[in-house]
């Protein structure tokens, strides 16, 4: 949209900080967020300066990278680290498409600053594989046909992984609850549920 709503100076960083990590519930208008980007760019931390050094662990490997303070974790993963398995769907913390693990807990990476992952351990869909071999959860999604278009699938798989770390023997209800933050427009829900339950079974047996 064009620029009719300028003139607020909430920086995107503040905006995101205020909302917290991976929690759905912000009600800031997108236009506001939009102009916050513009404001941020005009302010001190513009593209050419103000980058900060970030060190974290991504998929088991130490990473040191210069980032702009307002960069989200999803942007860091996709744009700087080329880990494009993590998808951006709403970019507003409302759909779970960008779910990754932060120290073993599911977070919405679009709704969290990269800098807030400093010294922490991030796992993405790429980190689940062992070489060419699919992780048992990924394999369960393949076996149970737990997807259609596949766009929500990385987020679903990561949410399932977080769930199974917490509840190795989840009930149907625990799966539903644990994954309720991940939407699927193809509505592969019944098969995603079966996939998660099958994965739990498989991991338990191995």
């Amino acid at each position: 949209m064009s620029n009719e709503e300028n003139g607020n100076n909430i920086s995107r960083r503040k905006f995101i900080k205020g909302v917290g990590v991976g929690i759905a519930g912000s009600c800031v208008l997108p236009s506001l967020e939009q102009s916050a980007i513009a404001q941020a760019k005009e302010g001190g931390d513009a593209v050419h300066g103000g980058k900060e050094l970030l060190s974290l662990t991504v998929n088991g490997k130490p990473v040191r990278v210069l980032v702009e303070p307002r960069m989200t974790l999803a942007e860091l993963l996709r744009e700087k680290l080329q880990l494009t398995g993590t998808k951006i769907v709403c970019n507003q913390g409302a759909c779970g498409g960008c779910t990754v693990l932060l120290d073993g807990h599911a977070v919405y990476s679009c709704h969290m600053l990269a800098l807030d992952a400093a010294e922490r351990e991030v796992t993405t869909i790429e980190g689940l594989m062992t070489g060419e071999e699919l992780h048992p959860i990924q394999q369960a999604f393949v076996d149970k046909d737990g997807y259609q278009c596949g766009f929500c699938t990385p987020g679903q798989v990561m949410a399932a992984q977080a769930l199974l770390l917490r509840h190795p023997r989840p009930t149907r209800e625990q799966v539903l609850e644990g994954m309720s933050g991940n939407i699927c427009r193809c509505a592969a829900y019944p098969k995603i549920l079966e996939s998660a339950l099958a994965a739990a079974e498989k991991i338990r047996k191995s």
Partner: protein, 744 residues
């Protein structure tokens, strides 16, 4: 008795599920969607859009552009500033007039995405407002100057069957009913996006899309017919549901022009807010019936009037209207019929294709209408509907012949038994207390393949290419978008050739390689494209020579018995029909208006399933989208502005909303479909809303004449009933009568 779930048909082993070829990449996260592609030297584009529903642009003021940044607008288009669709009214970029909020005016293009967005947000467009048409009511009032043609009508048709005036005279009763439906947003999770790459002598556009050849024609028109070799490649597509049938043509044209202007690759990916606010939606509708009953209470005649809101540009509206009109009398035998339909232009986001394509609106209306007539007559809706349902040998609303067996009666009976429909239907009418149950039923069909003359016009062409290593490549323009084309079509070829599935290759279409087999729409991929592939495969088998390269092509022509008169809308509107029955049970909280869907039972006749598991995905997915359409997916456009612009505000079904679904299919092979297959993708959505609405209507004891049936609407209805004057007060059990007026 339980309905057979996912019926495996004896001897029909093509239906046995196989591993989907795209499974590993999608579950591993290595599948590359459009936004995952970056090529060296790539520029990013960001759209500046209209903030006015209808206005003249008086000035465009750009901020200072840093080196390497530029804009692209209408005057940069070397070809024609019109998207090639059915009509010629929709520009790639607005020229001096804007016709809806969100309409693209220009692109800002530059080497860095965020800076591009920042510059775009600082472009100042000044407008002189013009009197807008902000709703169907505005359009009907006709106070503002027309937006399209002289009558502001994108399309208007009517057709007759029998002699309606005579039926009117002979009728013993007349029943009137009116229904309306809202917008629906596709909300495919992968936003729209394209990447245009200029190369020596040619221009390639990659994109998330359903119809590569539509896009090709649009791009050729934008860059100037014959001036560049245009090549379109579909990338892995994260859902479409009709929403990537029309709009990618616009985006591809824009990106192509930007790529030519800069000589560099240009990527244009919409963010979610833009995608919701500016891309096409399902047409809102108003549908009115005047129905005449004879002395046995049977359907004698019906006069149907359909009004669709087409938004600002015509797009695919005329064909959407035709499909709605051909569904106007539903699955029923109506001897005397008149159907009139119009699509009006409004200064709102353009309406377009959405899974079902006009049929969901029409089936919501006709199914509720029949339900209301039955209740008004004190008859069981199931019985009344089946009494009038088309049978083999009957004539459709356009006088086409129903050639195949219609298995609706056994499907419905079996389903109703499984759901306990008759007992519940009787018991729930007298519901008491805060939580009330209701059960509803619908019958529907979906015409497979293009509407009317479409298949004959397109003449879809497919090719099989046998390599020297005896592997066979499928060359079609049909796209995989999650529905399973890449699972089903190779199975058809492998089974026809009698060779293993892993010997068949089917890549995403590239127009340099594949012929134009038509768009991936209209439930035509399995039946039409798959049918051609089967014929070609059988031919290849007859001439098979191991170790030799062989090529086979096939072009579609209707089977000789299909006749269609486009001028009078007479004959076989579709080559064949797929049928469906839905039963839905709900519980409504009368205090909050919240609806809980307890269970859905569904049976479909898709001819023969080509893959049981893929079909199950289509059934569950279509049912869920139908539920959303019926209950939760409210998209309002106020003063031309889409109100729900974020995923959080537009509520699609989540894990928690998904009720248990018991679905299955019956085996009823179509002679001209591959292995008996008909279409399946849209059918599963079409009949859900009326079954839900009928259930809610029963539960609350008040008429439900519009969808989505939101809690607010339910509470309003209940309140109005309480406050109604005594003489118009309606006892809950006979409530639907309030909608029906009887004249003898």
């Amino acid at each position: 008795m339980k309905p057979p779930e996912h019926t495996a048909t004896p001897g029909n082993d093509i239906a046995d599920p196989v591993a989907r070829p795209d499974a590993a990449a999608k579950c591993a996260g290595t599948a590359r969607y459009l936004a995952d592609l970056a090529v060296p030297g790539m520029l990013h584009a960001r759209t500046v859009r209209s903030t006015r529903p209808r206005a003249r642009i008086t000035s465009r003021r750009l901020p200072p552009l840093p080196a390497g940044f530029f804009v692209v607008e209408a005057r940069d288009i070397p070809g024609r500033n019109r998207i090639r669709m059915l009509d010629d009214d929709w520009p790639f970029f607005a020229e001096d007039i804007v016709n809806h909020i969100g309409e693209p005016i220009l692109l800002v293009v530059g080497p860095e995405a965020e800076a591009t967005a920042m510059i775009a947000s600082r472009v100042i467009i000044e407008y002189e407002d013009l009197p807008p048409i902000l709703s169907l009511d505005d359009a009907l009032a006709g106070l503002a100057p027309p937006l399209y043609g002289e009558d502001n009508c994108f399309a208007e048709y009517s057709f007759h069957k029998g002699d309606l005036p005579q039926a009117r005279r002979a009728a013993r009763q007349m029943v009137k009913d009116g229904f309306s439906t809202g917008f629906q947003e596709h909300l495919y999770l992968e936003p729209q996006g394209v990447l245009a790459v200029p190369e020596a002598g040619r221009l390639t556009v990659y994109g998330s899309m359903q119809c590569p050849y539509y896009v090709k024609k649009a791009v050729e028109q934008a860059v100037g017919e014959g001036r560049h070799h245009v090549r379109i490649v579909q990338t892995v597509t994260g859902g479409a549901f009709g929403g990537k049938e029309d709009y990618p043509s616009l985006l591809a044209g824009q990106a192509a022009v930007a790529a030519l202007k800069s000589g560099r690759p240009v990527r244009l990916v919409l963010d979610r807010t833009e995608d919701i606010a500016a891309t096409t939606k399902r047409h809102p509708s108003r549908i009115d019936f005047t129905t005449f009953l004879d002395e046995n209470d049977d359907l004698l005649g019906m006069d149907v009037d359909i009004l669709l809101d087409g938004g600002a540009y015509s797009g695919l509206s005329s064909v959407v209207l035709q499909r709605a009109m051909f569904a106007a009398s539903g699955v029923y035998r109506v001897p005397h019929l008149h159907v009139h339909g119009r699509v009006l232009a409004t200064n709102q986001v353009p309406a377009g294709a959405f899974r079902g394509f006009g049929a969901p609106q029409a089936f919501f209306a006709i199914e509720m209408h029949l339900e209301n007539i039955a209740l008004r007559l004190g008859l069981d809706p199931l019985e009344y509907k089946l009494r009038h349902a088309l049978r083999r040998g009957d004539r459709t609303c356009t006088d086409g012949l129903v050639r195949g067996a219609v298995r609706l009666p056994e499907m419905a009976t079996r389903l109703c038994e499984a759901a306990g429909y008759p007992a519940k239907q009787a018991a729930y009418t007298a519901g008491q207390g805060r939580y009330r149950r209701g059960i509803g039923l619908s019958l529907c069909y979906h015409g497979c393949g293009f509407t009317g003359q479409g298949e004959e016009l397109i003449q879809g062409t497919i090719a099989l290419h046998k390599r020297a290593d005896d592997a066979v490549e499928i060359r079609v323009a049909a796209t995989e978008m999650g529905q399973g084309a890449q699972t089903v079509l190779p199975k058809i070829v492998a089974h026809s050739l009698g060779i293993p599935l892993d010997q068949i290759h089917y890549e995403n279409p590239d127009t340099d390689i594949v012929p134009d087999s038509g768009p991936t729409v209209a439930s035509r991929t399995t039946m039409i494209v798959g049918g051609l592939l089967r014929e070609a495969a059988l031919d290849l088998k007859r001439h098979w020579q191991s170790g030799r390269v062989m090529d086979i092509r096939r072009t579609y022509h209707h089977p000789p018995h299909i006749h269609w008169d486009q001028e009078h809308f007479r004959g076989d509107a579709y080559p064949e029909y797929a049928w469906g029955v839905n039963v839905v049970e709900v519980e409504v909280d009368l205090l909050t208006g919240l609806v809980r869907v307890i269970k859905i039972w569904a049976q479909f006749d898709v001819g023969a399933p080509m893959d049981e598991r893929t079909l199950r995905g289509q059934m569950e997915g279509g049912i869920a989208q139908g539920l959303g359409y019926a209950l939760w997916e409210k998209l309002e456009v106020d003063d031309g502005r889409v109100q729900q612009q974020r995923i959080r505000d537009y509520t699609i079904p989540t894990f928690m909303d998904m009720p248990p679904v018991e679905s299955g299919s019956v085996y009823n092979p179509y002679e001209f479909g591959p292995f008996g297959a008909k279409g399946a993708g849209e059918l599963t959505l079409v009949g859900v809303a009326p079954a839900v609405a009928a259930a809610v209507q029963q539960a609350i004891g008040c008429p439900v004449d519009m969808i989505p049936v939101t809690p607010e609407m339910i509470l309003r209805r209940i309140r109005n009933r309480k406050h109604a004057k005594p003489d118009s007060e309606i006892p809950p059990e006979s409530s639907p009568r309030s909608r029906s007026r009887a004249d003898t």
